[in-house]
Symmetry: C2
Subunit: 282 residues, 2 copies
């Protein structure tokens, strides 16, 4: 994935250099790569060729990276630390961060069109649609807008869940589905099970993020810890308490694993990832 | 086009409302719609169905609108007036402008995948690739980065031209080509002629923009006039002088029109648009 991302991003030696450097800085050399890992793990279910998964994985990771760059900007979360390094607008400047985020989003869609990623072009178009839907106003960007509007506001658990389903869940889900498009077709019932798994993983990811924001320190996280409480943001921990939030994460993991039962050993990587997402320390 | 754009944008009544309102504010109720007009005019060459052209035209206009929203932000041009109204970050706030621009870019790619836009899905994938290439680091965003780096810097005419080919030209060119994909296939020689026309129009558009920035007033333009000189930006006028710049625009128009000769009456709208682009007053 690191090689694939490096190859798909414009070279830092080429004009406009500062933009390209900022794009590479935002994407390379850091990050858990959870979304590309999900693409690859779902690809294993359908015997997908590695090269297709590299492109699909790069696309979701670029969308994720662009959202972090913009989210960290002074007019949003105004954060200075990401993946253990200065954020893009700190290392470069605000204008370059804005443009680099913009160009990373475009590069994500470009990555889905550079070579055949599914057996049928119509399926590849569905992949583009899926990524767009997961990233835009009905997905990630919409979730960020709700998040922005909810600072200092009391949210109910369903409202919080809805926000996270959009903000984080949609792209996690898209990662799994994108991987599954890259190989042999799944039966419709299997696709539904996988989709359910993907949705549960999206929620589990966010519950654990909220727990880590309270329990982990900044050095381990590579980003500023305790940020949610400092910004008076509603989280699973603030709504449920730490103990209940951990219970919720465990429940989500169990339910997600059950969705994989019928896939047998081909789902081994997806099971490992479910375990990692729930039990990670950063 | 206004109806098509209104229908493709998320409704202002739906959550997150502020994001949706900002997206609609940025796109609806203003703008010359030059890019969608080029999509439609090129569509006439190939008997393209109107509904396809509406989606393709909406996609380019959303990319254009997102770039204006971000370009006007305080960390970029810091402008308060656009299309005769307060800019998005002034009417809403910086964070909403950032997210609205982001979500508009996504909506553009989504608009290219919502229904069949070409006879072959593989051609529709080429449309997505074309728009991505024209919008990203190798196109519009790259041009903006060069523009940013060139404030107060002496640029040669070839350097200025290169910047504009990316910043404005790429999306103008994409508009024409997207329209031409929506109908009957063009012969390869015809496609080349049309592509040449599109490239020349992209340059002509920018030369005239530079002339208008000097000659027109803010009320006529609907955006702040005299901005280039105030920001010490190199322009065709600052490099060539006003008289030479006008001559250059006329030459580009003549050369562009010559590319359309073989298309006969089917190119009537493209000819009208070429005339409008060069002789417009705003």
């Amino acid at each position: 994935m690191e090689l694939a991302l490096g190859g798909l991003l414009p070279p830092a030696s080429q004009l406009p250099q500062r933009l390209h450097e900022a794009m590479r800085y935002a994407v390379l050399g850091g990050g858990k790569r959870v979304r590309p890992l999900l693409v690859f793990a779902a690809g294993e279910l359908v015997n997908a060729p590695v090269e297709r998964l590299q492109h699909a994985g790069s696309a979701v990771e670029m969308i994720h990276a662009y959202s972090l760059v913009h989210d960290d900007m002074p007019c949003m979360d105004d954060d200075v630390l990401r993946r253990g390094k200065p954020t893009v607008h700190v290392e470069f400047d605000d204008a370059t961060a804005l443009l680099a985020g913009d160009a990373l989003q475009t590069a994500a869609f470009e990555a889905l069109t550079m070579q055949a990623l599914a057996d049928e072009p119509a399926d590849q178009l569905r992949m583009v649609k899926l990524l767009a839907n997961a990233s835009g106003a009905a997905g990630m960007a919409g979730g960020q807008a709700i998040d922005l509007a909810s600072v200092g506001q009391p949210l109910s658990l369903p409202e919080l869940e809805h926000m996270h389903i959009l903000k984080t869940g949609a792209l996690i889900r898209a990662s799994v589905l994108l991987g599954s498009y890259c190989g042999e077709p799944l039966a419709s019932a299997q696709r539904d099970k996988l989709d359910r798994f993907a949705k549960l993983m999206g929620l589990a990811f966010q519950v654990v993020d909220d727990i880590l924001d309270v329990e982990a320190d900044t050095a381990t996280l590579g980003k500023t810890a305790g940020k949610d409480a400092a910004h008076d943001k509603p989280t699973y921990v603030s709504l449920l308490g730490l103990k209940e939030a951990k219970l919720r994460a465990a429940e989500l993991e169990a339910e997600a694993l059950a969705c994989l039962d019928e896939f047998g050993t081909r789902a081994a990587r997806l099971r490992e990832l479910a375990h990692f997402i729930v039990h990670r320390a950063f």
